[in-house]
């Protein structure tokens, strides 16, 4: 046997073993947290069948999600959702199906990873203790939420109710909902349902705005001195033809020539299409940024924003049938802006977090306030929303066109937005006003 070769083999093996040991160390130490936090790590969810997960409360302390001892096994906990319609918002946590909603976004707190002192963390690493979970208090108000869900009923759509003063979300409704208490038996139907009950329409579904953004466009143009309320709107009530779509006024006006103010109230698209052309892509982009329509909000739960907005067809954008989509939450913030002298609120869903040691601390996940309009303009447009501003939008491809309907309203304290997936302006107005009535009785 050759001595040199023998030495080489020894060295090579030593290096190989050392390398492999180092790589094990890499995965455990460097990538450990990332790997264990993956949704396909069933261990986290399985652990929570043996030790309780943190609760989720509404603003008044009512339990929205809690871990209760099971009846079947001698040990074990199961996750219960006392108010089922909040399914799309609260989400679920399951060893089989992963995580979604608030359960997912706040998993670190609810599982008990956060707010550990280094001593606790070390003890847990060595002894393998289960974590001590924290709890979450949302800004949602269960009473208001019930009214929102009742108003929506069996229709598909969403409701967002926002507190004007502090920008807190009082209700987030998304229909159709699902019951997270019975995921095991309903999962396969839920994932194949074309109505997408698992989707949180309020924060994560983008709709064509249609006439819903007319007030914002109007306010912006007022500020730029491009229009005046009494001036005649060119093309008035005429129908607008975009590529394959013809859009008409939401409500047919009785007059022939329209003022801008009338065009806004009747929801006529042609003047706004022309207005967008006049505003131009640069300023339009600035408006969308001021309205925070292009970046997702930092809410502590997943929310989306329109990505890939192009300014090729300004007419389409102006009429709200272009490449920009908005979520009900975004519209609620814009509406709230009109009630807050032009300042869009810093929106909050997470109110406070309870640490493992029992103390509640205010949550830091919060949107950012932004100024979109001058106080004067906002005040001028506010009366528009008193009984609710109704708008429609055409959605769907050429073969399956339907109308989505928006309703945006302002009370003294709240901003209320309703969107229905497939309804007329009259339907959404009925739903919206019923809701407003119920809310005013609180």
């Amino acid at each position: 046997m050759n001595a040199g070769a023998w030495r080489v083999l020894n060295l090579a093996l030593a290096l190989a073993f050392a390398t492999v040991a180092a790589m094990s160390g890499y995965w455990v130490i460097v990538r450990g947290a990332e790997l264990t936090g993956r949704p396909d790590n069933a261990r986290r969810a399985l652990l929570e069948t043996r030790f309780p997960r943190g609760e989720i409360f509404d603003r008044n302390g009512a339990a929205l999600a809690e871990s209760v001892p099971t009846l079947e096994a001698a040990d074990g906990y199961v996750r219960r959702y006392p108010y089922a319609p909040l399914g799309p918002v609260l989400g679920y946590v399951s060893p089989l199906y992963g995580r979604a909603g608030v359960e997912s976004a706040q998993d670190a707190v609810l599982h008990g990873d956060r707010a550990e002192t280094p001593a606790m963390a070390l003890r847990r690493a060595v002894l393998g203790d289960p974590p001590t979970p924290g709890a979450i208090r949302l800004t949602l108000d269960l009473d208001v939420q019930r009214q929102a869900d009742e108003a929506l009923g069996v229709r598909a759509g969403a409701v967002v109710i926002l507190d004007l003063e502090r920008g807190e979300l009082l209700a987030l409704a998304s229909h159709p909902t699902f019951d997270a208490n019975s995921l095991d038996s309903t999962w396969s139907t839920l994932t194949t349902d074309p109505q997408a009950p698992l989707l949180n329409r309020a924060t994560a579904a983008g709709y064509q705005p249609g006439g819903a953004l007319f007030p914002a466009l109007y306010a912006f143009a007022l500020q730029l001195d491009l229009i005046a309320p009494d001036a005649t709107a060119p093309r008035g009530a005429s129908a607008l033809t975009l590529d394959t779509l013809t859009v008409t006024c939401r409500t047919a006006p009785t007059l022939g020539a329209l003022t801008w103010d009338a065009a806004l109230r009747f929801g006529c698209p042609s003047p706004f299409a022309d207005l967008a052309e006049e505003i131009g892509p640069a300023r339009l982009d600035q408006l969308y940024n001021d309205l925070q329509l292009l970046t997702p909000l930092n809410l502590g739960v997943p929310s989306v924003a329109s990505a890939g907005v192009t300014y090729d067809s300004l007419s389409a954008l102006g009429a709200g049938q272009g490449s920009l989509t908005i979520t009900p939450l975004q519209l609620a913030r814009i509406t709230a802006g009109f009630g807050r002298a032009g300042r869009l609120p810093a929106t909050r869903l997470i109110d406070a977090i309870r640490n493992p040691d029992g103390g509640w601390v205010p949550a830091s996940d919060s949107g950012v306030e932004s100024t979109a309009f001058t106080p004067a303009v906002a005040e001028a447009l506010r009366p528009l929303f008193v009984d609710g501003y109704v708008a429609t939008a055409q959605v769907g491809g050429r073969d399956k066109r339907r109308t989505a309907a928006w309703f945006a309203a302002l009370t003294d304290e709240l901003a209320v937005v309703v969107v229905l997936d497939d309804a007329s302006a009259g339907d959404v107005a009925t739903v919206g006003r019923t809701l407003l009535d119920a809310l005013s009785l609180r």
């Binding site: 046997m1 050759n2 070769a5 073993f17 040990d75 393998g128």
Partner: protein, 465 residues
């Protein structure tokens, strides 16, 4: 062969090495027995079966050390305890995942140790092994070929690599025996040819390519390895056999160009396999980018990594993890079970034990008197070490996954048997230098090598003992 009085040193050393392992086994068994009471609140029955396993292991280990001490004076005292420690680790981990299979592994352990010790203690000079090398090789190939025809897969999920069942539910994997047979054959072949090759090597490095006479055996072995790979989809074994063969050729000739040739052939073979087999492509893409297909082809490797990470440095504790979430946690992925419950420390411990085993085996190879013994010892050590590196490398994503098991630790009767036979052969070889005058003296030929050989002084002092 005369019977010698037992040399106490190997027994004493062996017992000394077994003591901490025994303590580990007993504590581990107690932990496994107690754990159900911890995981479930309320009453749960204590299961004392793991203690039975530990006792059985201890009995086998003590018997092995005793018999070897009596029958094989001067053998290396570290090998057997090392192997038993690893096997014990494996026993506990397998029982943890699948209790019934833990008992099967224990049964196989008894058989394996018995046969291994028999091989060591009653195999004088290993001349029989040399003479029968063609028999081993042919039988190994025939048995492996049989699996193409009547092969079964006991777990029903993968390649049909087993022969069974002899009516008692026993399954044998011929490929394991083939590894042993090939190691024997190659060592014998090279030992014979080495002298001839060396005599012609006096000019030094003038020839740019190896001569056909040197290269032919490499090519033939490569073809056999590729044939196994192609027919059985057993990539791991094919790579392993080829790697060990190239290593042996390199050791025998000392010519680096043999390594290069081997490397080229490996790459070429890899390309052929890649273009011909979807399995190869799937494994390769799962290795390069597992994150994009976590629920499909890359499920195993990602779950394996998650299990390792879940163990953290100190482990979740024996019995307190969820190792069964990783597929094949009792065989191919036994390391992730260890990683989850014993932590990074456990993984490194297993690696250190295997590294020590390899180092010890190579040392035995160095100290062996005859070329055949040297090459056989080196080949067997390389076989175990390469296989370990192959599966651990695949588990930590240093290499693509291959379906080989972790020697001594994974569930697998044939693997355990073959590994202990290898230990037996190594032990026999290790007792050789002290045996004296048997076998061909190849030392003269070795001294004629290039000046990188060890100083003659060391050799002569040992020969004088």
């Amino acid at each position: 062969m005369t019977v010698r009085t037992p040399d106490p040193t190997p027994v004493r050393t062996g017992l000394g090495l077994l003591a901490p392992a025994a303590l580990f086994m007993v504590l581990g068994a107690i932990a496994l027995s107690v754990v159900p009471a911890v995981r479930v609140s309320g009453s749960a029955p204590m299961n004392w079966a793991p203690l039975g396993l530990a006792v059985l292991w201890l009995a086998v280990a003590l018997a092995g050390v005793g018999v070897l001490g009596r029958r094989l004076p001067g053998h290396d005292p570290v090998l057997f305890p090392l192997a038993m420690t690893l096997a014990g680790f494996g026993l506990l981990s397998i029982w943890r995942v699948l209790p019934e299979w833990g008992w099967r592994q224990a049964a196989w352990l008894v058989v394996a140790v018995v046969i291994g010790v028999l091989t060591a203690a009653w195999a004088p000079g290993l001349r029989w092994a040399r003479r029968l090398r063609y028999t081993w090789l042919v039988s190994g190939l025939v048995l492996t070929a049989l699996t193409f025809v009547i092969g079964v897969d006991p777990s029903g999920t993968g390649a049909r690599l087993w022969l069974g069942s002899l009516g008692i539910g026993v399954f044998l994997q011929p490929a394991e025996f083939l590894k042993l047979a090939l190691a024997l054959y190659v060592a014998a072949y090279l030992a014979e040819r080495r002298e001839v090759a060396l005599l012609n090597d006096t000019e030094g490095k003038t020839a740019p390519w190896p001569r056909l006479q040197d290269a032919l055996p490499v090519l033939v072995m490569w073809l056999i390895a590729m044939a196994i790979v192609i027919a059985q989809r057993d990539l791991g074994t094919g790579m392993l056999l080829f790697g060990v063969f190239v290593a042996l050729v390199y050791l025998a000739t000392g010519r680096a160009r043999n390594l290069v040739l081997g490397g080229i052939l490996a790459v070429f073979g890899g390309l052929v396999a890649y273009s011909a087999f979807g399995v190869v492509r799937a494994r390769l893409s799962a290795w390069l980018d597992p994150w994009s297909d976590p629920s499909g082809g890359a499920f195993q490797i990602i779950q394996a990594l998650i299990a390792l990470a879940a163990g953290d440095v100190f482990g979740r504790g024996l019995g307190l993890g969820n190792p069964a979430l990783v597929p094949l946690a009792h065989s191919d992925f036994i390391l992730t079970s260890i990683g989850e419950e014993f932590g990074l420390l456990g993984v490194v411990a297993v690696l250190v034990l295997h590294a020590l085993l390899a180092a010890r085996g190579l040392r035995i190879a160095w100290q062996a008197e005859r070329a055949f013994d040297q090459l056989l010892a080196a080949g067997l050590s390389a076989l175990t070490a390469f296989q370990t590196l192959l599966i651990v490398g695949g588990t930590v994503r240093a290499l693509p996954l291959t379906g080989v098991t972790l020697p001594f630790v994974s569930y697998g009767g044939s693997s355990l048997l073959v590994q202990f036979i290898a230990i037996g052969l190594l032990l026999a070889i290790s007792s050789h230098p002290r045996d004296g005058a048997t076998g061909r003296r190849a030392t003269d030929a070795r001294r004629r090598l290039a000046p990188s050989s060890e100083p003659a002084g060391e050799r002569s002092s040992e020969a004088a003992r």
